[in-house]
Symmetry: C2
Subunit: 239 residues, 2 copies
């Protein structure tokens, strides 16, 4: 499960290290475009993922130790729910039922959610923070590959306000107050990113040409991992 | 706990039975106005209650048996969260912290929430449906008694879209499919209304003149119970 991720980290492609961020993004977009699913499967998948982010964040609201934390988390939960509802409304505009269009993705995502069961509140916070960020970013990039005109709108929704900056402050405080918490969360963060990347990858429409697919996927996932590492670093966690 | 409620049901005041709905509402407003708390306690209380309705509805999302039900419930959860956030924003406009202003009400409401722990998903649905409706209505009425100019706005927010009609359809289906479910839910509904009315009543600022207070409270609570009975009837449940 982790091998693919580790390979990318220990040996990033030379081209990636040399190119600036501005040069590298268009290339990533073009590559991923060819692997993007159709608009209806895309909407079903992102809609269900946002519903799950809302649910995971609401679980963190329920177990929050104080009202200030509840305020931060319920705000983030509401923003994920807003995203879900925007995608569900788009599905309805296309005369489809959100429940039907989301259904094919529930099995894979529910299994993923069961696997990444947090042991405590801080782990739940890190899950929402890292996984929410990773999926928003990945599916915003994938949106540019949609042949449908809705792509830019989908990317805008996913890159919109998430409320996760507030969650980062809760995590920073917990890590500062107890160094052991930081050690455990660093391990948890590594576990989360591996599983999350597999879910992201499973949404791509791969061809029979594995080598060609890998070449297209590589820069996008390298970028995702790089952003993940920055998120971990910002919290003072070793990625 | 139930005696007060039963007294009202078995012997409604003659004046209430004779007056039309239009005549009776202004009278109820005037009476309750004198018992309304100040604007800051009011905002703290309604803000926290809506947060709890959002949490209770989100718990029902988490245990929903299918995606169509999740859609209905997450919509209702989002609308309760919107109400909470509007009240929290008003608290901030008054240069106060929502967490601080809500704090005094957490003890009573959390104890209430612990007491009305649903045994299953249908009970959770009925809780959200009945309790959300009862509190929205009661605090919208109480808003007209606020000396602050925000009263009408607060009433508008509370009477705004709740998403509960969808929850009623889920309950109707469950009751139709299994008559035993209806019997159990009827009992549960009676239990919920007793505890909820006590919470509503505890938010009033009572004077030393118990008889005078009772006279003011009576028509409002009679009306609340009458609406509760209508909600139960609409589901085919005996109130």
């Amino acid at each position: 499960m982790f091998s693919w991720f580790r390979r990318r980290r220990t040996s990033p492609p030379a081209s990636h290290r040399l190119r600036s961020r501005d040069e590298q993004n268009p290339a990533a977009k073009v590559d991923l475009a060819e692997l993007a699913p159709g608009i209806i499967p895309y909407l079903g998948l992102v809609s269900y993922l946002q519903l799950e982010v809302y649910e995971a964040t609401s679980r963190a609201v329920a177990s929050a130790p104080d009202l200030a934390a509840k305020e931060i988390l319920s705000n983030a939960a509401g923003l994920a729910l807003d995203k879900h509802q925007e995608f569900a409304a788009e599905i309805r505009r296309r005369h489809r039922e959100p429940a039907v269009v989301m259904e094919p993705y529930t099995h894979t995502i529910d299994r993923y959610v069961d696997r990444v069961e947090p042991a405590n509140w801080n782990e739940q916070l890190l899950l929402v923070y890292l996984v929410g960020g990773l999926f928003d970013e990945f599916f915003a990039q994938l949106a540019s590959g949609l042949t449908d005109g809705y792509g830019p709108k989908a990317a805008d929704i996913l890159r919109g306000e998430s409320g996760r900056a507030g969650i980062a402050t809760l995590l920073e405080r917990a890590i500062r107050d107890n160094p052991k918490t930081g050690d455990r969360l660093a391990l948890w963060g590594r576990r989360l990113v591996g599983d999350s990347l597999l879910v992201a990858r499973s949404s791509l429409v791969l061809s029979d040409n594995t080598a060609s697919d890998e070449k297209k996927i590589e820069p996008v996932f390298t970028e995702l991992i790089s952003t993940h590492i920055k998120r971990m670093d910002a919290l003072g966690l070793t990625a």
